[in-house]
């Protein structure tokens, strides 16, 4: 069902976001603790990075239908 795809995509997106943000947060904490003397900025950095990556992935996922792969030549029909 094509109408379910979007929902699937959103699910993936959220999951990915959670993962990424969590990972980012974790890494940020780690780095903050380990390397950066408990500053908050690595945490926010990690968070932001995670969020950004999640955002970007989500966007790419949502856009994926409209983007032409590099290997595709312009003007040729995409064989499905």
């Amino acid at each position: 069902m094509s109408e379910k795809e979007l929902g699937k995509k959103w699910d993936r997106c959220l999951a990915d976001c959670a993962v990424k943000v969590g990972a980012g947060l974790g890494l940020g904490v780690v780095f903050s603790v380990v390397f950066f003397k408990r500053h908050t900025w690595p945490i926010s950095f990690g968070l932001g990075t995670g969020l950004g990556m999640a955002y970007s992935n989500c966007q790419n996922d949502l856009r994926s239908h409209y983007l032409l792969h590099r290997s595709m030549k312009v003007g040729w029909t995409k064989q499905q």
């Binding site: 094509s2 109408e3 979007l6 966007q59 949502l62």
Partner: protein, 717 residues
């Protein structure tokens, strides 16, 4: 707001310049009016100068003038008013040419030339009758050669000549010849008569002159003899008597000669007049006669003149001799007188007086003789002295007389030579004329021959043409008849064939009717079967659950295919069912409707997303729009879609309206208009809807077909 700004700017800029602009305008308007007048003036001047230039050039170059007159309608009136009529217009030029051709044909020809023109006139008539050339005819008048009359005649004939019929021409020619012959005969007769008479008289005159000459000669000779001869007295008297008779004879002959001469001269004059009259006639054959007569006349005149001169010379000689005799007689008489005065009694004849005279008489006689001798000596001396003068005077006289005689002789000689030259010329002219006549005759003969050849050719050609025409007519008539006959036979044949065909057709019809009954029943059975199977198919369609598809239609379709194996339409339709419906079955409309309702919210949410707008932010905006925008649940779709109606929300309302009203097709159409992500979302629904629609269409067609077939095969009671 930008426009207001620009307006203010404009006002600011131009507000200041406005008075100067006005000024400019005023100046311009006033200048404009003078400018308009200037333009009008310039135009008028140009027009006038062009017209003037055209007129002047037309005056100088007539060809240009004719060209202008030809091309511009009223220019010839204008140019005629300005310059006078056109001397080189084509009409007047033609007239001039024609008149030039006409006028020099009638110069002042002497009457001699006209004699040959009569026959040439006829020839020209014939020539003009043959050819198309409008030859100007020579004068055909056979009367007196008055040139003005001739010209009038010719002007009458300036119009187109009609051909005279050949008989008329020959009749005229014959008549002409007859007339000529008559004239010739009369003229020759008159000429001969006058020639004969003049010849007779001339001969007579010459004879008389000769006789006179003879008489004069004899008389002179006798006189000389009488003067010089010493003859005895009785013979002397006889001599004198002879002399007398000779003198008388001479006189008479001279008179006769004179009379004869007069008569001869008269006869010659009459001959000359006759010749002149004959010359005036135009018959050509007269001329040699005239020429001969003239020559005769000339010779007679010459002979006559010669005889007259001879007589005159003889007469002059005789005059000398007579003068001499007179002188001698005078001397003798003087001597006799003296002698008689001296010796009155002695008679004249002193020779016989030897014994009768006395000494005194002799002495007196001798003294008288001496005195006479002295006198004569004196006279002789005087004479000798005056000799020279006398001789000179005599010479002068002689010279004068000689001159006179010479002049006269020269004059007569010149007359004669002139006459001879003229005759020679006339002779040559007549010869030339004859030659020309012969030449003309040969040419005319040639012309006539050419004419006959030409006529022959034309007749041949005409014959050919007429023959071909007649053949053509014959052929066409024959063809007509043939086609008519063929038509009739064909009609007959056609009618017969028609009847036969009709009968055969009826027979065939009957057979076919029977056969068709059989077939119809068979068909009815088949149709029944088909209908049943189609009904089964449509029943399977109804077995759709709320969200489950129907049963697969395969079996029903198989049943159909079995039942109507030889019905191509049904087979085609049965095979036209989509694969999915066969395998899986189709969804019902109700399920699709419910699905659509759940789809709708999804579509609303992704309304803004398409190829170019598909970032997460756009997604956020799209979700926001979906949350904030409210549209009608169901909107009636218009009959024609505009661009505004392609908005996704509107489309959804239209589609849902259609679905509520059980119009799946229209709903699918509306949904089909969605673009972008919304389209992707509804893709599956659309496919299902298409499937259902196709299947339903095919089934409807099949059932309609089955119904139709069933109806078709049912027979009315």
């Amino acid at each position: 707001s930008p426009c207001y700004v620009s307006l203010a700017l404009y006002k600011c800029l131009y507000g200041r310049a406005h008075p100067t602009n006005l000024q400019h305008h005023r100046h311009y308007t006033s200048g404009e009016s003078s400018g308009a007048a200037k333009v009008v003036a310039v135009g008028l001047v140009t027009l006038g100068s062009s017209i003037g230039g055209t007129v002047l050039y037309a005056k100088w170059d007539p060809k240009f003038r004719t060209a202008v007159e030809k091309n511009i309608p009223y220019s010839d009136w204008l140019l005629g008013m300005a310059l006078g009529p056109n001397p080189y217009s084509p009409v007047t030029a033609h007239k001039k040419q024609v008149s030039k051709f006409i006028t020099p044909k009638y110069p002042t020809t002497p009457p001699d030339v006209n004699m040959g023109l009569e026959s040439s006139a006829e020839a020209s008539h014939i020539i003009s009758a043959i050819s198309e050339v409008p030859s100007v005819p020579a004068p055909h008048d056979t009367e007196a050669a008055v040139l003005t009359e001739e010209c009038k005649e010719c002007h009458h004939h300036e119009g187109p000549l009609k051909e005279r019929p050949a008989e008329e021409v020959t009749a005229r020619l014959a008549q002409q010849e007859q007339e000529d012959q008559d004239i010739l005969a009369s003229v020759s007769a008159s000429l001969e008569e006058s020639l004969a008479s003049s010849a007779k008289t001339t001969l007579q005159a010459i004879g008389a002159q000769e006789a006179a000459l003879q008489a004069i000669g004899s008389h002179t000779h006798k006189l000389k003899e009488a003067m010089e001869a010493e003859v005895p007295p009785d013979q002397k008297s006889a001599q004198w008597r002879d002399l007398e008779t000779a003198l008388a004879e001479r006189r008479s002959t001279v008179n006769d000669a004179g009379a004869a001469l007069l008569k001869a001269r008269d006869a010659l004059d009459s001959l000359r007049s006759v010749i002149d009259k004959a010359k005036e006639s135009k018959v050509a054959a007269v001329q040699p006669l005239v020429l001969a007569a003239e020559e005769n006349l000339h010779s007679m005149v010459v002979d006559l003149d010669q005889a007259v001169t001879k007589v005159q010379s003889a007469e002059s000689e005789a005059k000398i001799v007579s003068q001499y005799t007179e002188l001698v007689n005078e001397a003798k008489r003087q001597f006799q007188k003296e002698l008689s005065s001296l010796t009155p009694e002695i008679q004249a004849n002193w020779k016989g007086l030897t014994g009768k005279l006395s000494a005194d008489d002799l002495n007196a006689l001798i003294a008288h003789a001496h005195r006479r001798i002295d006198q004569l000596n004196r006279e002789l001396a005087e004479q000798r002295v005056r000799e020279q003068v006398h001789i000179e005077a005599a010479l002068e006289q002689q010279k004068l007389e000689d001159q006179k005689a010479l002049d006269k002789a020269v004059h007569t000689a010149t007359q004669h030579s002139k006459e001879e030259a003229r005759l020679e010329q006339e002779r040559k002219l007549s010869e030339l004329r004859e030659v020309m006549e012969a030449e003309m005759r040969t040419q005319l003969r040639r012309q006539a021959a050419a004419h006959t050849d030409h006529l022959r050719d034309i007749l041949k050609v005409q014959e050919q043409e007429l023959r071909s025409e007649a053949e053509q007519v014959l052929n066409s008539k024959m063809l007509e008849q043939e086609t008519h006959y063929r038509q009739l036979t064909q009609e007959q044949l056609d009618n017969f064939t028609l009847d036969m065909n009709a009968a055969y057709a009826r027979l065939k019809g009957m057979e076919e009717a029977i056969d068709s009954h059989v077939i119809a029943e068979e068909e009815a059975r088949k149709a029944h079967q088909l209908w049943l199977s189609v009904e089964a198919l449509s029943y399977t369609l109804k077995t759709a659950g709320s969200d489950l598809p129907t049963k697969p239609l395969e079996s029903a379709v198989q049943a159909i295919q079995d039942s109507c194996c030889n019905n191509e339409f049904a087979l085609a339709l049965a095979s036209a069912l989509p694969e999915e419906s066969l395998r899986r079955g189709v969804y019902s409309e109700a399920s699709l409707r419910s699905r659509f309702n759940s789809l709708r919210s999804m579509v609303r949410r992704v309304a803004l997303i398409d190829e170019s707008h598909n970032s997460l932010y756009q997604y956020f905006l799209s979700y926001l729009q979906a949350a904030l925008l409210f549209e009608e649940k169901q909107a009636m779709p218009p009959t024609q879609l505009t661009n505004e109606d392609l908005d996704p929300f509107k489309l959804l309302s239209y589609a849902s309206y259609c679905l509520e009203h059980e119009d799946l097709e229209l709903a699918a159409k509306f949904v089909n208009q969605l673009r972008g992500e919304a389209r992707r979302v509804v893709q599956d629904w659309l496919t299902e809807a298409r499937l259902t629609l196709e299947t339903r269409q095919v089934v409807t067609l099949l059932s309609a077909y089955a119904n139709a077939v069933g109806l078709g095969t049912t027979q009315a009671p």
